[in-house]
Amino acid sequence: MNFEDTPQEAEFRATARAWIGANAPKQYEDELRKSSLGRTVLRNADILDVAKAWQKKKADAGWACLHWPKEYGGRGSSPIERVIWQQEEGPFGLLSRMFIIGHGMCGPTMMAFAREEHKRTYLPPLASGEKVWCQLFSEPAGGSDVAGLRTRAEKDGDDWVINGQKIWTSGAHYSDYGILLTRTDPTVPKHKGLTMFFLDMKSPGVEVRPIKQASGASDFNEVYFTNVRIPDHQRLGEVGDGWNVSLTTLMNERSAIGAAVSTGFPELFEYCSSLMLDDGPAIEDRAVRSKLANWAVKASGLKYTSMRAISALSKGERPGPENSIGKLVAGSMIQDVATYALDLQGASGVVSGEDAELAGRFQAMLLRAPGTRVEGGTDEIMRNIIAERVLGLPGDIRVDKDVPFNKIPTKGRG
């Protein structure tokens, strides 16, 4: 067991640090450092422009998508080098969140299932941030139950014709491409009739309508498909094998483990270290200390859990379902941390935005937190995954599992 850099790792770190020091957009460092978890806004610049510029600069110097193969725009780095990079990139890493779906999920799915020529065409501009991708899975009829989706794909010559609706699609409004899960055969049980594609979001018949979120921001969208044509060579995997392809996407979502999960703890600790309560400094208060200590060990537990996963990955082990715990623990922790930080502010905790203490950092965190517990699989689905896939407990009873999709009773929306 060794927690220190090897000589090669130290050298990599030094090189990365020097490059970041010379090239990062420092004018935004302070704002990024102080930004709220889950919501990064720059006052005098468009975050997407800044993110794209930084990503392109990284790509040109060989620092983009470190673990991807070089021929697809990556660097071919080890998992540990990736972690070192993230540590060194610090707050500038927040900018790459704009690309997390493309880099973390769409890219790896393309790498596993697209034709070689498509990989060479589409992956480098994805790595460099010039093209942004989104993931078109969820529908009104299928979120947790992804396989319950209804968007139809019908073969017409060499094309497929798509009709239907997606929802909650993050970043669709600024995406260039998307991976799309569709139903190609409604007469077989739901998991068997799905097929995956990738498509140009500017294709005729694609309509993106931003949704205003509970937090007030608009990061996700409804996406409507009306007779959208996708050539067959943009199919990912076999016809009817879309469920397996989507599992690869979802597995990769979990293996974006290097990305240390944010918990809100460092922000809370810093805050409590300077906050004065009626009876003195918050950090001297017995109750405050107890809360802080409990969250401290969750935060460090998550950090070292991801380090263990990376060590396993370095030895060639595949990332497993045990990585589901990051989001599960961090999601509700962020929510609780934000609630507590506001509680410590007393009545003024209610004031948000620019008018609030710390520019509304914890208020914004509180309002974003519910989404964290839902996106990428709800807390309940995460617990199911741990119970079934890690602990080997029986699957939930699925009454629709063997029923042809078009015979499943429907009610309500969709």
């Binding site: 460090s300 990376i310 715990i325």
Partner: protein, 375 residues
């Protein structure tokens, strides 16, 4: 960076697990639990023969000289098996105190005896209510003679010697405390067994009346040595707690697969699945914090004080969480003496107090984090 045990260490773990599965069945634990023996002597002998008692003791003092990572691996298995032996008091507390502060003669006298299983040691720190703090040490030492009462002393009734914290000054500072080494079989020592939450590990009250003692470490250094001992023991106990958490989770999982109600395995009910998933989560966080503690312990890194407190808190919470919910998963069966669930519940709650309570370690953690941030 490599955040995992080595293959050799994993092999040692397998070896220890196999040995304990054979020699330390729940049936064997129950002999001690039911009060038929103060500890499992056969097991203790076996642990010595396997080289487990002296795994972190240098070869020149009769140990295996392997190191603390190896000791962590063994500790986890001791926790898994709920071993009814004075392992933590002897190996984590007494031996560590000797390793940190003992003179060559003291090490030569006691460490080989620990490694061979001949001597049981302990740390006599507490004097009734309260957490570790210099002001709570009232027992006095003057001219090498101790007077006062210690309680609870882990494994005090079976121990051959104790490291005793005593007051040697009245300045009101940490420097008032010094440590002494006492042969408990000598004159001036009176030992009384105490009933306690976890009978598989005894607790005692020890009265020292004009008892002769030799200093351990320099006068006035007692508190700083103790802090180091407690930190090291916190990491080692955390591994026992992680082992216990995993075992409790495993018992719950197995029962959930086995027991049928409403025509289904109870493990197919989501409320039960989610309870077990949450047990897995807390056990995993504790394991990860403990690994960091193990690294800090084995390298004596500057991070050790903070890492030890984090491992301690996380592992204490996880073991309590897993042990109580293991009973819940077992339903009424879980509340019988006959089922083993309560052994882990007892051990989890006793261990939560042994080195000072959670609130003590919470305080320590925050103090240490502040210090680091200030530095």
């Amino acid at each position: 960076m490599n955040f995992d045990f080595s293959d050799d260490q994993k092999q040692l773990r397998d070896q220890a697990r196999k040995f304990l599965a054979e020699k330390c069945s729940p049936k064997a634990v129950r002999v001690v639990l039911d009060g038929k023996a103060p500890y499992d002597k056969e097991l203790w002998k076996g642990l010595a023969e396997m080289g487990f008692l002296g795994v972190a003791i240098p070869e020149e003092f009769g140990g295996a000289g392997a190191g603390h990572l190896e000791l962590c691996v063994i500790a986890e298995e001791m926790g898994r098996a709920n071993a009814p032996v004075p392992f933590s008091s002897t190996v984590y507390l007494a031996a560590e105190a000797l390793l940190i502060a003992g003179s060559d003669a003291q090490k030569k006298k006691w460490l080989p005896a620990i490694a061979s299983g001949e001597a049981i040691g302990t740390l006599a720190l507490f004097e009734g209510k309260g957490n570790p703090a210099p002001k709570n040490v009232k027992l006095t030492a003057a001219n090498g003679v101790l007077n006062g009462v210690k309680k609870p002393v882990p494994d005090g009734a079976i121990a051959d010697f104790a490291v005793v914290a005593a007051r040697t000054g009245s300045s009101g500072r940490d420097g008032d405390i010094s440590l002494f080494l006492v042969d408990l079989k000598g004159a001036g020592v009176e030992v009384k067994s105490l009933t306690n939450l976890d009978p598989t590990r005894g607790q005692a009250e020890i009265t020292f009346s004009d008892c002769k003692a030799e200093p351990l470490g320099a006068a006035g250094e007692g508190w700083s040595i103790l802090t180091q001992v407690l930190d090291r023991a916190a990491v080692l106990c955390a591994f026992e707690q992680v082992g216990g958490s995993d075992r409790a989770l495993e018992m719950g999982r197995d029962y959930a697969l086995d027991r049928i109600a409403f025509g289904r395995q109870i493990g197919s009910f989501q409320a039960v699945k989610h309870m077990l998933a949450d047990m897995y989560v807390s056990a995993t966080l504790a394991r990860s914090n403990s690994y960091f503690g193990a690294w800090a312990l084995s390298t004596n890194a500057a991070e050790l004080p903070e890492a030890a407190a984090a491992a301690r808190i996380s592992a204490t919470q996880a073991f309590q969480h897993c042990a109580k919910n293991n009973i819940q998963v077992h339903g009424g069966m879980g509340f019988t003496w006959e089922f083993d669930c309560h052994m882990y519940y007892r051990r989890a709650n006793a261990m939560a107090l042994g080195l000072g309570s959670l609130s003590y370690w919470e305080d320590q953690l925050i103090d240490r984090m502040r210090k680091k941030n200030a530095a």
